[in-house]
């Protein structure tokens, strides 16, 4: 048995049936990390010793019959903006280069209660601001499918780690597409839940009204199982929603008969790469052939989502990131004259260019004289975007389109023109503004071998509808598109170049 090629659920089953142990899985994953990490750089920190300790403890509890869940004993990686007590949590930033939280995020506690073994923290764009994982203070992560390309971002480390089989699944966070876009670029399944579904307690805040933690997985059943574990109502997050039903795996049925799918014409036009468009249309066809009703429609307002998003996200970021001042934790500048000088120098040396850019924009749009014209205007636009989605969901169960306008760009080509990079978020940001659930599912590769993903968007609390459509697609295509990256030893053995 090639233990690394198993999905998280398959491994969980193998551990339960004593065909493998939690320690076997940790060993296999850590060996793999050592093999490919010099090329990929998915992780900021690895917790080798802790992983074996957790594996031993979890194994004991599985054997004692206390851990009976489907993912008990399975190794997971966690994005480095999600707090774990006593473990370095850097957010990809210099300013948190030595920060060890004193508490653990609720989503991670939920994983631990289900017997997960956390093996490390994954790389990300600094404070989740970026679309390439190149703004990390700890070096960029490479796309495992082609090392000359970016993995996407900001959860690039989590998605690259899953694609390169450096873990069985991972947690990411999504403020404007940060789970879905890198999932699309790395050929893995990623889901952003309805706002309020997964507790934000312990997630370092970027845009609080938009942030959600979600799963990054090898396939759709894994994705559903992880979501089921991490979702919960949490009184420590005042925006946490108490949902009626958390049994997301119930949606895994091969049945989309009568499911109404709408493809926004405004998502398929100008600016969309031809190969991506073709793959998206082909995927829609698969669902149609299996009984779904597929139509095109006009969603409207698509071009206003990005400007509204950058105003709102930057405004919230400028406020949220005020806490990094060199007093309570993190980096402090070496030389300073007085308190204000210390704040300013600490922040100027501690933050990277993209973070500073957004803090300044956010400070500006919230300043007196500009608040109405920019911030309130963006919040009004958000209301209109929500209405446009409401109208669409009166007619359709699922909105289907591309996750991103192109496949992964080459390394070093994006940061020189931030405006252009922002435009790459065109299909994802509106979902966060409207609080909706959405997922990215691999549907093919372009002529350079880079993965292409479709985005499925659902109405609030309709994750199950998305999972059902994604599962049907996956079964119909026999998971042909969800192959992990050809990298490391096996790539050399196959004699293929990457």
């Amino acid at each position: 048995m090639d233990i690394l090629s198993l999905t998280a659920l398959q491994l969980g089953k193998a551990i339960k049936e004593r065909e493998a142990s939690a320690a076997d899985a940790v060993r296999a994953v850590l060996d793999r990390v050592k093999e490919v990490e010099p090329e990929v750089n998915s992780y900021v920190t690895l917790d080798e010793e802790g992983a074996f300790q957790q594996a031993e403890e979890v194994q004991r509890l599985i054997e004692a019959g206390e851990f009976t869940g489907p993912l008990a004993g399975v190794p997971v990686a966690v994005k480095d903006n999600i707090c774990i007590e006593g473990q370095l949590t850097t957010c990809g930033s210099r300013i948190l280069s030595n920060f060890k939280p004193v508490y653990t995020a609720e989503a991670v506690l939920n994983l631990k209660k289900a017997g997960a073994v956390v093996i490390g923290k994954t790389n990300m764009d600094e404070f989740a601001m970026g679309s390439t994982t190149e703004t990390s203070y700890y070096g960029s992560t490479k796309n495992p499918h082609n090392l000359n390309h970016v993995p996407g971002g900001s959860s690039g480390g989590s998605c690259a780690a899953v694609a390169a089989r450096e873990c069985y699944y991972a947690l990411g966070s999504d403020t404007g597409g940060s789970i879905r876009q890198p999932s699309s670029f790395c050929g893995v399944v990623g889901l952003k839940p309805t706002y309020g579904t997964v507790s934000r307690y312990g997630l370092v805040a970027y845009g609080s009204s938009l942030d959600q933690i979600g799963p990054v997985a090898k396939d759709v059943p894994d994705c559903a199982a992880i979501l089921e574990i991490i979702s919960s109502h949490d009184t420590k997050d005042s925006t946490s929603v108490k949902r009626k039903n958390y049994h997301f795996t119930e949606a895994l049925t091969e049945d989309v008969k009568g499911l109404k799918i709408g493809i926004p014409r405004d998502y398929m036009g100008k600016g969309l790469d031809k190969e991506v468009e073709e793959a998206v249309r082909k995927a829609a066809k698969v669902l149609e052939e299996n009984g779904a009703i597929v139509e095109e429609f006009d969603l409207s307002l698509v071009q206003y989502a990005i400007p509204a998003y950058y105003v709102i996200a930057s405004a919230e970021a400028s406020s949220n990131l005020e806490r990094f001042d060199g007093v309570k934790y993190g980096y402090r500048t070496a030389d300073y004259r007085d308190l204000h000088n210390m704040y300013k120098k600490t922040r100027s040396e501690g933050f990277g260019a993209e973070v500073k850019r957004r803090i300044m924009l956010g400070s500006f749009v919230l300043s007196s004289g500009y608040y109405d014209a920019y911030y309130l205007k963006a919040l009004r636009t958000k209301a209109l975007i929500k209405q446009a989605f409401d109208r669409a969901f009166e007619k359709y169960d699922v909105i289907l389109g591309p996750t991103a306008p192109s496949t992964a760009p080459e390394l070093g080509k994006s940061l020189t023109d931030p405006m252009k990079m922002y435009l790459g978020d065109i299909y994802t940001v509106a979902v966060n503004l409207a609080g909706l659930p959405a997922m990215s599912v691999p549907v093919g590769k372009d002529s350079r071998g880079l993965p292409i993903g479709i985005q499925l968007i659902g109405n609030s609390f309709q994750e199950k509808t998305l999972l059902r459509a994604a599962y049907m697609y996956e079964c119909a295509t026999e998971k042909w598109h969800e192959t992990s990256a050809n990298i490391g030893k096996e790539a050399q053995e196959n004699g293929k170049t990457i």
Partner: protein, 97 residues
Amino acid sequence: MKNKITDEVIDYVGILAKLELSPAEKEAAKSDMEKMLDYIDTLNELDTEGITPMSHVFPVNNVFREDIVTNGNNREAILSNAPLRKDDSFEVPKTIG
């Protein structure tokens, strides 16, 4: 460029954002912000008259609880993250002259 960010505005934003910018960074910040604001101005094409600004997509209410301490004493763990401490306090530069 329709929007023009003056030196005064960028200095003011620097104060609000608590960031110290080098002359080169300042020039870059001005041009970045002008470009972004020109782009954001496309929102003015939309008629938002009478639309209520939406902060949250779901109704959000205050969450109340009884005033009972549930977390333990984390003082030592919290202080161990401080860049500079003095006994049981965070140490900062002198603030009152």
